[in-house]
């Protein structure tokens, strides 16, 4: 892992590709896109847990909704309060 990280930094390669990390982007409080995920672990209107290469990602909020899901990315819509990595 240390070698990959150093190389990614030196060569300025996208880390999410080299290190198999999730790319999380957020639009305000209302939308989160998680790319490069490893599957959905839990789903309800208040909490969503997603497995990623950097551990489990926990989203808490209200009225959460899966706007779209595919093997490559998950788009969550709703009012997001917290975004947390569980180790």
């Amino acid at each position: 892992m240390g070698f990959g990280k150093g190389m990614a930094e030196k060569l300025d390669l996208p880390k999410e590709v080299v290190l198999d990390l999730p790319l999380v982007s957020m639009v305000g409080q209302e939308e989160v896109t998680v790319e490069n995920h490893k599957g959905l672990l839990e789903y309800s209107a208040e909490t969503i847990r997603i497995a990623t290469g950097a551990g489990r990602l926990l989203l808490t909020g209200e009225g959460l909704e899966l706007k779209q899901m595919s093997a490559a990315c998950i788009v969550v819509k709703g009012r997001i309060f917290r975004l947390e990595f569980l180790r």
Binding site: G39, L40, L41, E42, Y43, S44, A45, E65, L66, K67, Q68, M69, S70, A71, V75
Partner: protein
């Protein structure tokens, strides 16, 4: 955008709304995602989950549900194919769509707006009235308008036009014109004329560029008096002089007098704007104004038109336009002036009025104001002394080209 495109695609192709119930719905979703079946708008409803997916993926999803021990239920079909099916069973929808298309077609086959471009000396109305006479006006059916005929007729009718192009695009007709170059009127330079006084006054300064000056500084002249004559005596000294006629030119500055009266009421109602301004939208169809929703105003208000926008797409103009107005509420208040204040106001007004229309080099030399005070108003009578140009060209009677009979006499004489 990335997410919108497939969703739009599935909207056109048709999609299914399904409901999943069971213990491990997450496993079901992971499996579906792994198998590259797209689903969207998933939301938890009660104990289960509702989502939309493509028609093609439905069969595989059923497999997924079976594997993960979930129960899959089809709620409804959606998308365009479904809408079409719906339209088939409800003919009135189809009729509505057709009616809309037909209305749009009919409305766009009329000329609704006529634009004039390129006119400088001619007014837009002149050209529009001429166009109207040959059948090009708002409200005409496009097929009835013969653009070539209108072009020819305009050229023949208005002599001042050298080029005309009539084009109809959408519901808009554009008349492009080019005006001829006017030949300068020969009278200016050649026709013998005198410089006469326009007003009564005392001559201050006289400069004759051409012609014989007849007055001097200090002379009192009356309106109509000849100041610079067109007659010039030419000839060598000692020989009989000959009279020649020229177009007199020069400037005559004189002191003139004028009287200006102004009035000022002592109490005036004044509008004090304030409060919340409200916007109003008016739909215009030709001359018809349709104002469906008027804002409720508690006090008096002034209207101001902000903009008028034609409703149409690009080159397509429709006979509708939308006018945006703003209503400004005001309260009226009585404003009273003292006599002194009124006088000050009047003085400024009088001076402004006196200076009105003065050209460069002309000035107001003196003002003398007499005030008359009444119970409710003050009246100012202002005697203004002006220093202005009073010379005016006048064609010599015997050389007037406009006068037919004169010209005939002239030729007979020769």
């Amino acid at each position: 955008m990335r997410n919108l495109l497939p969703v739009l695609w599935y909207y056109l192709r048709g999609y299914v709304m399904i409901r999943i119930t069971g213990f491990s719905m997450e496993r079901f979703m992971n499996l579906a995602a792994y198998r590259r079946i797209l689903f969207w708008d998933a939301k938890g409803v009660g104990g289960g989950m509702e989502m939309k997916t493509s028609l093609a993926g439905l069969k595989e999803l059923e497999e997924c549900a079976q594997k993960t021990g979930c129960h899959l239920e089809i709620l409804a079909l959606g998308g365009l194919p479904e809408k079409m099916r719906h339209a088939k069973t409800h003919p009135i929808f189809a009729v509505g769509i057709l009616f809309f298309a037909a209305t749009l077609y009919v409305l766009s086959s009329f000329v609704w707006v006529v634009h004039v471009e390129g006119n400088e000396r001619l007014t837009e109305e002149e050209i529009l009235t001429a166009c109207e006479a040959y059948g090009l006006k708002p409200g005409k059916w496009k097929k009835q308008v013969d653009a070539d005929a209108v072009t020819k007729a305009l050229l023949a009718d208005i002599s001042d036009l050298s080029w005309v192009s009539v084009s109809i695009k959408g519901a808009e007709a554009t008349v492009k014109v080019a005006e001829t170059i006017v030949a300068p009127t020969p009278m200016e330079e050649e026709t013998p004329c005198d410089i006469i006084a326009e007003k009564d006054g005392v001559v201050e300064k006289i400069t004759a560029a051409k012609g014989t000056p007849l007055v001097q500084a200090g002379d009192v002249v009356q309106a109509g008096d000849v100041l610079i004559s067109a007659e010039v005596l030419v000839g060598l000294e000692g020989e009989p002089m000959e009279t020649e006629y020229v177009a007199a030119s020069g400037s005559v500055q004189a002191t003139t007098w004028a009287e200006v009266t102004e009035e000022q009421m002592l109490t005036e109602t004044e509008k004090i704007f304030g409060g919340k301004e409200k916007e109003n939208h008016v739909l215009l169809f030709g001359d018809l104004e349709l104002d469906f929703i008027k804002p409720h105003m508690e006090s008096d208000f002034d209207k101001e038109v902000l903009e008028e926008k034609n409703m149409g797409l690009g080159d397509w103009t429709l006979p509708f336009s939308l006018r945006t107005e703003v209503y400004r509420p005001y309260e009226t208040a009585e404003k009273t002036y003292t006599v002194e204040e009124a006088k000050a106001l009047l003085e400024a007004k009088c001076k402004e009025k006196a200076a009105e229309g003065l050209a460069e080099g002309e000035s107001v030399a003196q003002t003398e104001i007499r005030y008359e005070t009444y119970t409710d108003r003050v009246r100012a009578v202002c005697k203004v002394t002006l220093s202005e140009e009073i010379g005016k060209k006048q064609v010599r009677k015997e050389f007037d080209v406009e006068d037919e009979s004169n010209r005939e006499n002239h030729s007979v004489g020769e």
